[in-house]
């Protein structure tokens, strides 16, 4: 059993705090995305697990549905369009007194007709004379509503709002924009670690220094070059290869640095043994270094993938906004503008964009953590 010290308790509490601070909004977003849009607009997600009391207005059917039984005319139906499991406990017939009657009691209208409403929404409206009005009467009910969830929001968002396409677009951006720098940088990091050449240290220093340059500073110059290039060949400056190259460029320094950090922890005697065995640098790289670096490749892949996946700025600058190119984050931002009132669309869209990061994080978290501390601890 570990000793409980102040610092350990404190750090555990802090950890708990962080976990809560991250889990609660995510969970809330997820629940909200599964709720009915009308309910979502009026109550918080935390109310959706318990039976809630709602006051609603329904209208009875009109004269078409009346039947004659003996001396009386009846309209028998149900207030609810579909069975949602709601349970009525009181009802009323005027807006002044919306919970005047218990369920099962009979209420008397001014025109001498009487109505009885039952728990499940069934009602019987009874009249001595024939019903004349096309429109039914308003009935106010106080009902207990059980928790209910629906996937309708997802259908709506993925198919009708074009988020599904944006989701695929983001994949089309993120996968190459992760793999290309990883491949380039693995060669680069190997050379920086295990090959002797003039100016190697200077090159390494340049890489580390360029980690400091903010990406935002490079956007305009790079786009200018793209525009000139596009104009020269008569193609659009905004395209998938363009954004792949942009992400590759922006990711080069950090990816190289992380990989270099890892590669230099490989024992130098092993690399020398390979040389004595007759391996060229290429052999050593492919047959020794790459197989031993898979965990670190995986972790760097995850870091870069998540970065590209969550990116908005680069995507906005280097891709057009038409449906075949727009990425998820840009699409969400667009929806925020045009459908800002429709919470069900925003919550669902946000959650869709989170699914991939969440999946990656939960399935590969040990690589993820190793990537963050690459080189600082032994793996």
């Amino acid at each position: 059993m570990k000793k409980l010290t102040f610092t350990s308790v404190f750090s555990q509490l802090l950890l708990l705090l962080f976990v809560i601070a991250w889990i609660v909004p995510t969970f809330g977003l997820f629940i909200s995305s599964l709720r009915d849009k009308d309910v979502l607009a009026i109550s918080g997600w935390w109310t959706s697990f318990t039976t809630t009391e709602v006051n609603e207005i329904y209208r009875t059917k009109g004269k078409e549905d009346q039947i004659k039984e003996g001396d009386y005319y009846f309209i028998k139906s149900n207030l609810f369009d579909e069975n949602q499991g709601k349970e009525i406990y009181r009802f009323g017939i005027t807006s002044k007194n919306i919970d005047e009657y218990e369920v099962g009691e009979t209420a008397l209208f001014k025109d001498e007709t009487e109505i009885t409403v039952f728990e499940n929404g069934d009602y019987v409206w009874k009249s001595k004379e024939e019903f004349k009005k096309k429109k039914g009467k308003r009935i106010f009910v106080s009902a207990k509503s059980p928790p209910s969830f629906t996937l309708d929001n997802y259908k709506e968002v993925l198919l009708k709002e074009g988020l599904g396409q944006a989701f695929l677009n983001t994949f089309a951006v993120a996968l190459p924009a992760t793999l290309i720098p990883l491949i380039i940088c693995s060669y680069f990091a190997y050379a920086l670690t295990w090959m002797k050449f003039y100016g190697r240290d200077l090159l390494l220093a340049t890489i580390i220094a360029s980690l400091v340059v903010p990406l935002q500073m490079c956007l305009i110059p790079v786009l200018t070059i793209y525009n000139d290039f596009g104009a020269l060949f008569g193609v659009s400056a905004k395209s998938y290869p363009g954004i792949w190259m942009a992400h590759t460029g922006f990711g080069l320094a950090s990816t190289t640095f992380l990989l270099w950090n890892f590669l230099k922890t490989l024992p130098s005697e092993m690399i020398e043994a390979a040389r004595v065995d007759g391996a060229t640098h290429y052999d050593t790289f492919i047959k020794i270094v790459v197989p031993l670096s898979i965990p670190s490749f995986a972790s760097i892949f995850i870091l870069q993938f998540l970065w590209v996946w969550n990116d908005l700025l680069v995507g906005l600058v280097f891709l057009d906004k038409h449906p075949s190119e727009i990425i998820l984050t840009a699409k969400l931002k667009e929806l925020l503008g045009s459908r800002g009132e429709n919470w069900e669309i925003l919550t669902t869209g946000a959650f869709v964009s989170m699914t991939v990061p969440l999946f990656i994080f939960f399935s590969l978290q040990r690589y993820f953590i190793r990537g963050l501390v690459a080189g600082s601890v032994k793996g």
């Binding site: 024992p267 020398e272 043994a273 040389r275 004595v276 065995d277 007759g278 391996a279 031993l292």
Partner: protein
């Protein structure tokens, strides 16, 4: 034929002059050991022979061919590293076959050669295991096996046994000796362990700060160290050193003042009267005596009983004097011990330039 010839080799790390105008001839099929304290340049030398380290000047040839500008694989060498340097993701078989596969040898030949090497080293049962499933001794066998499969003319060993525990080290030492008999290859062995050097070598090269201190057969170095450094380095426990002074020289007889008494040695020496010298004598060349004719008397403050013999440490002003006695010696800590030096086995060194004078 693969004799190794090093002529006037220099090596700098930055401004540090690590190997100083070094020349050495290693005979074909010999077992030569480079030995010295850490930092003396012995590993650097080995790595230069291997081609892993560049030489700043001088010439290295293997089998008569200059190899200065050849990469390791074209030098016909194999190297065994201290940390084994196995490829952790490959099986033992793949580790041993790696070099052969790179040479694009036919599969059958690769298989035969690996099995042959595995048989010599008795690791046939482990061929399909990964290095991490092996013990230290087994890993080092795999590392040696990897060297054998390529059938090189020169084997280079860089402190191969220093990661093993004492018992395994003795066992592997014997196996290395057997291996040398078995294979007709030149072996160059680097170690800081003088026992390994003494037991394995045909020839020992003692290095001190990038230069050869002495070179010769193990027993020659033991009996006739050329200088104080070699005398102190070879032998365990160390040779005893006592400050002394030459009082008179009479053609082939020398009288010296030592530890308050006078002794006469029958030797011709290259020195003058009244010079300060260092008198060296090995623990086994000191006789414990009861008679009144003794050279030194001291109190025993440590008694190491090893079973076969006993080492007794006697109190002295400078370093203690170590005496070897028989295993059944009854001397206890605190006893006064009288000793006499075997005057045929003395080593005399000039105390200013540390060179042997007798």
């Amino acid at each position: 034929m693969a004799d190794i010839e090093l002529s006037s080799i220099n090596k700098f790390f930055g401004k540090t002059h690590v190997i100083k105008d070094f020349s050495l001839n290693i005979k074909s099929q010999s077992f030569t050991t480079l030995v010295g304290p850490s930092g003396c340049g012995k590993s650097t030398l080995l790595r230069m022979i291997a081609g892993l380290e560049e030489t700043n000047s001088g010439k290295i040839s293997i089998g008569g061919e200059e190899v200065n500008n050849l990469p390791p694989k074209e030098r016909n060498i194999a190297m065994v590293f201290q940390s084994y340097a196995l490829y952790p993701h490959m099986t033992v078989f793949d580790n041993m076959a790696f070099g052969l596969k790179l040479e694009k040898r036919p599969k059958d030949e690769v298989k035969d050669r690996v099995h042959e090497a595995a048989k010599i080293l008795q690791i046939e049962d482990y061929l399909l295991r990964k290095p991490k499933q092996l013990s230290g001794g087994q890993r080092q066998r795999v590392a040696i096996g990897r060297a054998i499969t390529r059938k090189p003319k020169v084997f280079l060993f860089d402190e191969p046994l220093s990661n093993l525990d004492a018992a395994l080290r003795v066992q592997m030492r014997i196996e290395l000796a057997k291996l040398h008999d078995h294979l007709d290859a030149t072996m160059v062995y680097v170690t800081h362990d003088q026992t390994e050097a003494m037991t394995l070598s045909d020839e020992i090269v003692v290095l001190d700060q990038g230069e050869i201190s002495q070179q010769g057969k193990p027993i020659e170095l033991y009996n006739n160290p050329k200088n104080l450094f070699v005398a102190g380095f070879i032998g365990s426990p160390k040779m005893n050193f006592v400050n002394a002074k030459i009082s008179s020289i009479d053609h082939n007889k020398v009288e010296i003042n030592i530890l308050g008494s006078k002794i006469t040695i029958s030797k011709t020496i290259k020195s003058n009267e009244n010079t300060d010298i260092i008198f060296g004598i090995r623990p086994e060349d000191i006789i414990i005596t009861d008679s009144s004719d003794y050279d030194f008397q001291g109190k025993a403050f440590v008694v190491e009983k090893l079973g076969s013999n006993t080492f007794i440490y006697l109190d002295n002003e400078g370093d203690p004097i170590v005496v070897e006695a028989s295993g059944d010696s009854l001397i206890k800590v605190g006893d006064d011990v009288k000793i006499k030096f075997d005057l045929n086995k003395t080593n005399l060194f000039n105390s200013s330039n540390k060179i042997r004078i007798d």
